[in-house]
């Protein structure tokens, strides 16, 4: 669907070169909700804009539907752009047009007949839940409503790709959740492939099936959201995941645990079906060991369960060792070091 092959973008700013995107190769498949996450300045916005050639790659190729974008004539490029919907952090609605006028605009560019524009505008307004606001002007709307108009406008010409430039970054958490739900519907009900960029890990966690992490212009990690979440490799990825998934209590709590005689603390990762069985009880009972969950979360990600628990074991030293050995056959476990101070 969208394919970046060894793409770099270098900006020249006052005789200085800024490498916004460096050697990026990524493939976004049909039906994906693909999220690119990174801190500001990571190059994700530039990368996104290469999909409709608002930014031209300095080297490398970007293909959409197997077409090399750099080989398109200006007219062909405009045709392609009409097939790619785009929404923005600041919505970018025209203040001189009503809600309906904004949604109709891309269809007017396509010279869609007036009757059809009216019909389609009504349909889109109802899809995004703004039927009563057709005659309002953008300044009368809340942020979430503006983004809904943005989405309706982006869908007007029945695109097969929707690209989202920090679409929820200007919204409060509740509105963000609503917009994410809407994007999910766009993907599921209309079969539109979504490519989004964000600096919020919860956006990726909520709706994406695939993710790429960017830093200093490079893609440092990418893959299925479940895999990246449950087994992050790069420190930056780990930081992002910790932002939504605090996996360690404060040192004060750990110290208290230690002072109360705690000695064996392990991080236990449950993935997929391992969350369905009473593993910990079974094995600890077998060896006559007690366990205590100190901290952790169990959550659903991509319709799969994922548990990340800090478990303290108490009892006979040898029995503990045996129990842990058996547990390690089934789940990922590693001992947690508590810093003595």
């Amino acid at each position: 669907m969208i394919e970046f092959s060894d793409v770099s973008k270098i900006f020249k700013v006052k005789n200085r070169e800024v490498k916004a995107v460096q050697n990026v190769s990524l493939k976004i498949e049909k039906g994906d909700i693909f999220g690119v996450i990174g801190f500001s300045g990571a190059g994700k916005s530039t990368l996104l804009r290469m999909v409709n050639l608002l930014e031209k790659p300095t080297v490398g190729t970007v293909k959409v539907h197997d077409t090399d974008l750099m080989k398109l004539s200006p007219k062909e490029l405009r045709g392609l752009r009409r097939n790619i919907g785009m929404i923005f952090q600041n919505f970018n609605l025209m203040t001189s047009r009503t809600v309906a006028g904004n949604i109709a605009y891309p269809m007017k560019l396509e010279k869609v007949p007036k009757k059809e524009i009216e019909r389609r505008t009504k349909e889109l307004l109802s899809f995004v839940g703004l039927s009563e606001k057709a005659k309002d002007y953008p300044e009368q709307l809340s942020g979430g409503q503006k983004q809904r108009v943005g989405i309706a406008r982006a869908l007007a010409n029945n695109p097969d790709i929707l690209i989202c430039d920090e679409a929820t970054s200007a919204l409060d958490p509740e509105t963000t959740a609503d917009i994410l739900k809407l994007l999910k519907r766009v993907n599921a009900e209309l079969g539109i492939t979504v490519l989004l960029i964000t600096h919020e890990m919860n956006v990726i966690q909520e709706i994406c099936n695939r993710v790429a992490v960017m830093e200093n212009g490079f893609v440092i990690e990418s893959g299925d959201v479940y895999d990246v979440f449950t087994n992050p490799q790069h420190p930056t990825t780990q930081r992002f995941i910790q932002s939504v998934n605090q996996d360690r209590p404060s040192e004060a709590i750990l110290k208290e645990w230690r002072e109360n005689g705690g000695n064996h603390l392990y991080r236990v990762l449950f993935k997929g079906s391992t969350t369905h069985t009473p593993l910990l009880s079974e094995i600890t009972q077998k060896y006559g060991v007690y366990f205590n969950i100190l901290y952790g979360t169990v959550r659903e990600l991509q319709q799969q369960m994922f548990g990340n628990l800090l478990v303290s074991f108490e009892g006979d030293e040898r029995a503990i060792k045996k129990a842990i050995l058996e547990l390690q056959q089934i789940v990922e476990m590693e001992e947690v070091v508590v810093h003595e101070s």
């Binding site: 752009r81 970018n92 001189s96 002007y137």
Partner: protein, 220 residues
């Protein structure tokens, strides 16, 4: 010396008509030329939709040269060209030529400034929707800038009433001519006061009209 008001009122009315005629035609032609130059100044800027360093630099220098020249000097300096274009330098119609040129360059800057204040994100969105550069000019830039543009044109119109008075002193006719000949050369204060009052009323009307129209467009 006393003025015969029975004879004089028709003259005042005629002069008022001449002033309105000069201002209106100048506004129409000046706005057309000014909007074109202003748009060109904007779209040919660096990184803009029709970037062209040559066009931008030439227009920018031209505007910077013409705008600061005091209108009374500009009027005289332009008279050879006025004679070529209009056939004469005397009369109300002839005055419209230099007024239009001066107005056009003022309007160009007003238009450019209004366009700069448009959110670049809106233009990017139009581009992303597949709009061509010309479509962006006519369907995004002009409608988005229209409200402030009307206010800008109103501001220029008030200046044009001033221009017309200056043109009146060098054979352009209108209220300026009356004020100078009767008020200044014949020391007739009453005529002076009448023309001043009429000019004030004209300015008020123009401002009211501009405010009303822009209010409608801006919805505030």
């Amino acid at each position: 010396m006393k003025v015969d008001w029975a004879l004089f009122w028709p003259r005042i009315l005629e002069a008022t008509g001449q002033t309105i005629y000069m201002v209106l035609l100048t506004l129409i032609f000046g706005a057309i030329i000014g909007i074109v130059i202003g748009l060109l100044l904007y779209v040919t800027r660096e990184n803009n939709i029709m970037e062209s360093k040559v066009v931008f630099t030439i227009l920018n220098i031209l505007v910077n040269i013409i705008r600061p020249i005091p209108f009374i000097i500009f009027l005289v300096a332009l008279s050879p060209l006025t004679r070529i274009v209009m056939g004469t330098t005397i009369g109300t119609t002839a005055a419209i030529f230099p007024m239009t040129i001066a107005a056009a360059f003022s309007i160009a800057r007003v238009v450019e400034n209004n366009l700069i204040s448009i959110d670049p994100g809106v233009i990017e969105a139009a581009k992303a929707m597949g709009a061509s550069s010309w479509q962006i000019v006519f369907t995004v830039l002009i409608p988005e800038a229209l409200g402030p543009l009307v206010l800008g044109l109103t501001f220029v119109t008030v200046g044009l009433i001033d221009f017309s008075a200056v043109a009146g002193t060098v054979g352009g006719g209108g209220l300026g001519h009356i004020a100078i000949t009767y008020g200044y050369q014949r020391f007739d204060t009453s005529v002076m006061i009448v023309t001043v009052v009429i000019l004030i009323v004209l300015v008020q009307l123009a401002q009211w009209l501009g405010n009303t129209v822009s209010k409608k467009i801006l919805r505030r």
